[in-house]
Structures are given as C-alpha cells and as structure tokens.
C-alpha cells in the first residue's frame, strides 16, 4: 500500500472503522513508513486534545434573557391581534358597517350590470341602422342627414328611410310600412 492510499484511511483508522484485513495492512505500512506513522500519531493527539477542549458554559442570566425575549415576542403578537380587534370594536355598530359595505357593493354591481345591458340593448336595436348607414355610405347615398346621424349616435330616435325597424322584444329587424313606426317607437319609416 502506498503512502497516498494510506492517507485516505487515516480517519477511518483512528476511528476504528476499518475491516480487520485493511487495518492489518495499514499497520504494516505504518511500521515500515516513519513519515506516515508520524502523521498518524500527530493526528491522533490532536483528535484526543480536541475532545478535551475547554467547554464553555452560558452566562448566569442566559435563561432569564431568553425568557424575556420569548415574552416580548408573545406580547408583540398579542398586541398586534389586540390592536386589530380593538379597531373593530371602536366602530359604532359593526353590523351597520358590514351591512353598509355589502349594500354598496350590491348597488355598484347592479349599476354596472344595468349600464352594460343598456349599452348592449342599444347596440342590438340600432344594428340595422348601423348597417344601413354603412350601406348608404358605401353607395354614396346620403339619405340620413348628418343631424339624424348624430341623433342616432347619441341613442336618440331617428327617422329612418329604411323599411326596416327593430323589434324591441327580439332585437331583430322588421319590415315597416311607410309611416309606420317600429315597436320601440324609435324608428319611423318614411319613403324617400
């Protein structure tokens, strides 16, 4: 066994973790190699000395200080919870506040939904107009005046020269006779 190989087994030899065969082999090497033997002996001495290194003890007030730190930590946690709980208690009437907040949310929700449905309804109802205006603009005709167009865009009623109106209940275009108004009253057909 070479010195390099034995080097890898120093610790295991010191700790008694080698098999008997390997242990004997290494011992033979130590007996024949003063250099490795010296290293081993020094390593052994250091290892033994490290076990007997002075053991330091904690200061007398270690546990008292620890107890204070633990206590401060607990107090801090409790105070956060208490502050939060107290802020709720300070409010005049918890149930009124809760009800009020819920009511506000519901109202906002309803308003948003109504607005959305109004907009959609407006779009559906005026879809034929939109198509008509587009068609007219494509053909170059200017059957609906700019004012009427403006009214239409504002969602106001428009006099239509198109024979179609919009069925309010279904949102579908319907044929109108001359002078007839659509069911929603928004469209009146006039002959050109």
């Amino acid at each position: 066994m070479s010195c390099k190989e034995v080097c890898n087994y120093f610790s295991a030899y010191l700790d008694g973790e080698l098999s008997e065969t390997l242990k004997k082999e290494i011992k033979v090497h130590f007996n024949n190699c003063p250099h490795c033997k010296a290293i081993l002996n020094k390593a052994c001495s250091i290892k033994e000395y490290m076990k007997s290194l002075s053991k330091i003890k904690t200061s007398d007030n270690f546990e008292v200080r620890l107890r204070e730190r633990v206590s401060r930590e607990l107090t801090r946690k409790r105070s956060f919870i208490n502050t939060w709980a107290e802020s709720i208690n300070y409010l005049p009437n918890k149930s009124i506040i809760a009800f009020g907040a819920a009511a506000i949310f519901v109202i906002i929700f309803i308003i948003m939904n109504v607005q959305q449905s109004n907009y959609e309804e407006f779009q559906i109802k005026n879809a034929p107009f939109q198509k008509e205006i587009l068609n007219q603009s494509r053909t170059g005709e200017n059957i609906i005046s700019d004012k009427e167009n403006e009214q239409f865009l504002k969602g106001e009623s428009v006099l239509s020269v198109s024979p179609s109106g919009v069925d309010d209940s279904t949102g579908k275009a319907i044929d109108l006779k001359e002078g007839e108004q659509s069911l929603d009253g928004k469209v009146k057909y006039i002959n050109k």
């Binding site: 120093f10 020094k42 052994c44």
Partner: protein, 198 residues
Amino acid sequence: MKKKIENTIPTDEELIGRFQDGDIYAFEQIVKRYKDQLLNYAYRFLGDIADSEDLVQETFLRVFRKRKAYRNIAKFSTWIYTITGNLAKTELRRRKKKRLFSISGLKYSNKEYEIPDIKGGPDERADSVVMDELIQKAIDSLSPKFKEVIILRDIQELSYEEVSKIIKIPLGTVKSRVNRARLRLQEILGGLFKSPET
C-alpha cells in the same frame, strides 16, 4: 428480586412533543439540555463568546416559533444543530462582507463566563489556555466545509451519521472531509504535539 427502575428522564423527542402541545416547561428543559453544547458549537465557529451566546439565544427563539415545524422523522438534536449551524454560517458570511472577522482567537466581553478549572499548577493552566487558542486558530484557518465537520465530529463528538444529516451531505463525503480536515490540522499543529504510539 431486583426492581426495574423506570427511566423517568424524557427523551428530546418527548420534550418537543410536549412543547408542541403547549407545555412551556418542556421548552425550558430543552434549553437547559442544549444551551452549553450549542454554545460550544457556535463558539468554535465564530470564535467570539458574546456573539455565540446571542446566536444560541436566536436558535432557541426559532425553536420556540417553529416548534410545529419539527417532525419526529429525524432526531431533535439534528434539527437544533442544523438551526445553529445555519445561523453560524450566515453570521460568518455577514462578517466576511463586513470584514469584521477577527484572527485574534478568543475575544472576551464584559460578561462573566465560566471556564472550568483545569487541574495542575499555573504553568499547566497557562499552557492549556495557550493550546486552546492555538487549536481555535487552526480550526478558524480551515475552509468552512472542513471546519463544520471537524467541529461536529471531533469537538461535539457526534456520529458520522448525525453529522451527515445535520449538514445534509452524504456519509462518504463527511468521512472524506473529516479525513482531510484532520490531516490539515496536523500540518498546522503537528509541531506542538508529541504523540503516543497508536
């Protein structure tokens, strides 16, 4: 007829279990059991007694806060040593950044620390203190990965298996690092020791 004497000393795992259930006295028992050994572990890492004591206090605070996190899969000692080791490594990194790491060895603060009386005359006691300082300096000169294993194995006298679990490296790697650390220490300190025959 011999009576069987029951072992009434609770295990670490029993104590932490009781503490998890709300028994503060169990926590105090854990503190009493581990404070000195953790202090020595931290001290060998940091080389400063005051800082080491603060570190050990922080370890116990973390045990207090995270008691529910401990699971009985691993030994309690593994868990608490891991916390201390991680805090020590963090502190070393912080010092490295601030370049506050001292190479002067032992540092004394104005706190009184009990160091046990060493038998023998004044010369022997002085020699012993000097030797302690030299050993500590030699340990400090090791790289962190060797320092860690040598402290746990040769000073704290933990088994290879436990060291492997604390540091979370394979057993073979622990043995290899301990081997190299010991060889390195004997290079540094070899001249000081007249060894017995092995």
